[in-house]
């Protein structure tokens, strides 16, 4: 890592901004321009330390984990389980037994829908989500509702893209068997008031799953102080590998849940007349896991810890304010998602230029934004639009990135005003 640790608050910005050099992908030119990567909400870039740790693991230490007595297998197991310990500490889970490796946020949520909810869900029961969820926090619940006859309820949002707290709380009746919501919205950037909501849910005995895909890369997350029942997130959005995710679950829940998939590693004993499942967290980790993915995620967590999530949050919050401010100076811009509490994301529309065309024009100038529905079609329906252009920030972005974005919007206006 090339960044230098400085101590006083003023230098925070310098320090974090220096991180950019740690990310090889950000040093390239794209279409003849220096890459301005504003698509981290879709997937983040990796620091060299993550790329190299994975490559080194494969060059020296790889073997299958858990069941091997030879040296490489032992090294691989240590690396794989060591990463779990660091991830546990990173989100402050009470025990490593509560940290389940999955392939991503999507699988984490499906696991909870199928193993926690499906066995007991019945007609008359309800699952409550919000209107701003990512498809990955909608479709798994639609599937389990279809399978069980339960009903999917949706908590409303307002024009700024904030969940209507009173309405949501009023929806929390005894038939609600799960409240599943984003910690941070990927389309709108809204930070949900999860501590307040969880308190209300808790007082009614309703379990809460938080979709933390967009929170973990940008702010300190402490699952114990949040007091959520489940917390799902993805490696590839937090500077780690794809194909890698985490499900945090309270031990008491995980203990009671049946396994999600069957296979190697999740069993203690297999007999044709009955099988004994392994302890937590292994009960939920069937088959050879994504070992290099876990090792890479461990390296990403170390990297984030070395910078400090508090400082990252502070830096990004300042940068987001700058981004929003600068965008507002552009004639014809419409910001989508203007919640009071926001993180890392700003969606927008420009004149009547379709976001997709906007995306192409920006791309030709080296500026990478995501365009479309951002896997949140209900949000688009809410605003009556087909999609947005979305600039999303991460710790490696800086003011120059924002300036480049604003410049390239000018070019788009030029082309479309011919």
């Amino acid at each position: 890592m090339s960044h230098i640790r400085l101590t006083d608050a003023e230098d925070n910005i310098v320090d974090i901004a220096n991180c950019r050099a740690d990310f090889p992908a950000l040093t390239q030119n794209v279409n003849g321009h220096p890459l301005v990567y504003l698509d981290s909400a879709a997937s983040s870039q990796q620091p060299a330390i993550v790329i190299d740790t994975i490559a080194e693991y494969q060059r020296h230490d790889h073997a299958n984990v858990h069941r091997g007595v030879h040296t490489l297998s032992h090294r691989a197991t240590e690396a794989y389980e060591g990463a779990r310990d660091r991830i546990r500490a990173f989100v402050n889970a009470a025990s490593r037994r509560e940290v389940v490796y999955t392939s991503g946020t999507t699988e984490s949520i499906n696991l909870v829908a199928q193993s926690f909810c499906r066995p007991t869900l019945k007609r008359g029961d309800k699952i409550l989500i919000t209107h701003l969820e990512h498809h990955s926090n909608i479709v798994p619940w639609q599937l389990v509702c279809e399978q069980t006859g339960a009903e999917l309820l949706v908590a409303a949002i307002d024009q700024r893209g904030q969940v209507e707290l009173d309405t949501l709380i009023a929806q929390l009746d005894e038939n609600v068997k799960m409240l599943a919501m984003a910690h941070v919205s990927n389309a709108l950037g809204t930070v949900l008031p999860v501590p307040d909501i969880i308190r209300e849910a808790r007082s009614r005995g309703i379990p809460v799953l938080l979709d933390g895909a967009q929170a973990v890369p940008h702010m300190p997350v402490d699952v114990q102080s949040l007091d959520c029942d489940f917390y799902a997130f993805s490696g590839h959005k937090m500077f780690g590998p794809t194909g890698m995710g985490i499900l945090y679950g309270k031990e008491a829940h995980l203990e009671k849940m049946p396994p999600y998939q069957g296979g190697g590693d999740m069993i203690l004993e297999v007999r044709f007349d009955g099988t004994t499942y392994n302890d937590l967290p292994y009960k939920f980790e069937a088959g050879t896991p994504n070992i290099s993915g876990a090792v890479g995620l461990g390296a990403a967590v170390d990297y984030l810890q070395s910078l400090g999530m508090d400082r990252i949050a502070e830096y990004e919050s300042e940068l987001l304010a700058y981004l929003t401010g600068q965008l507002q100076t552009v004639d014809g811009i419409r910001l989508i998602g203007t919640a009071k509490q926001k993180a890392s994301v700003q969606s927008f529309l420009l004149d009547d230029i379709h976001p997709h065309d906007l995306g192409t024009i920006l791309d030709r100038q080296g500026v990478a934004v995501r365009t479309g529905h951002h896997c949140a079609m209900p949000v688009m329906d809410f605003y009556g639009i087909a999609g947005t252009a979305r600039a999303s920030l991460a710790l490696y972005n800086n003011r120059q990135d924002v300036d480049a974005l604003v410049d390239s919007l000018g070019r788009a206006k030029e082309i479309f005003s011919r």
């Binding site: 003849g32 230029i353 379709h354 997709h356 065309d357 479309g372 079609m377 087909a386 082309i415 011919r418």
Partner: protein
């Protein structure tokens, strides 16, 4: 490395005036109440969603065409151009345009020497050639055409460009 001038040229070549004109004022936009063939085109990439309507007579001639929906400039212009061009054509001829366009835009070189012939045949569709420099936009330019193909083949699933 592309120079700034080149960048601009490519974008201007993509967003030619004919394209911007059709995107702003799409022809034959709306429902076709007596359509005999319809198909939906969905591009999950950007949420383009077009509904294509055709009236195809007994002799397999396309006597009318309309479209509805929303999409980027390229997909709307392409749909508008499509309706302009296929009205009056035999379905076989329309499908020839479909293949010629897909072949041309995907950058596949015809193996024989019909190249020039293809160019001429494309006619106004050549305005879409700018997407060849934008591989991720080829799907937009061909979406309506995939839907045309589905409609003629009477496939029930929405056409997607995936």
């Amino acid at each position: 490395m592309t120079s700034l001038a080149q960048t601009s040229d490519e974008l201007q070549d993509l967003y030619r005036e004919l394209i911007l004109d059709h995107a702003r004022s799409p022809r034959h936009f709306g429902k076709l109440p007596d359509a005999t063939h319809t198909a939906e085109g969905i591009n999950p990439l950007c949420g383009d969603k077009l509904k294509m309507y055709f009236r195809i007579d007994g002799d397999d001639r396309i006597s009318d065409a309309r479209f509805e929906g929303s999409g980027c400039a390229i997909s709307v212009a392409s749909a508008s151009l499509l309706t302009d061009m296929v009205i009056g054509l035999h379905t076989d001829e329309a499908l020839k345009y479909f293949s010629a366009l897909v072949t041309r835009l995907a950058g596949v070189q015809p193996t024989d020497n019909d190249n020039a012939g293809d160019d001429i045949n494309l006619g106004k569709l050549r305005a879409l050639e700018g997407v060849r420099e934008f591989p991720s936009r080829v799907k937009c330019a061909t979406l309506a055409w995939h839907a045309l193909n589905s409609a003629i083949q009477r496939k029930s699933q929405p056409a997607t460009t995936e």
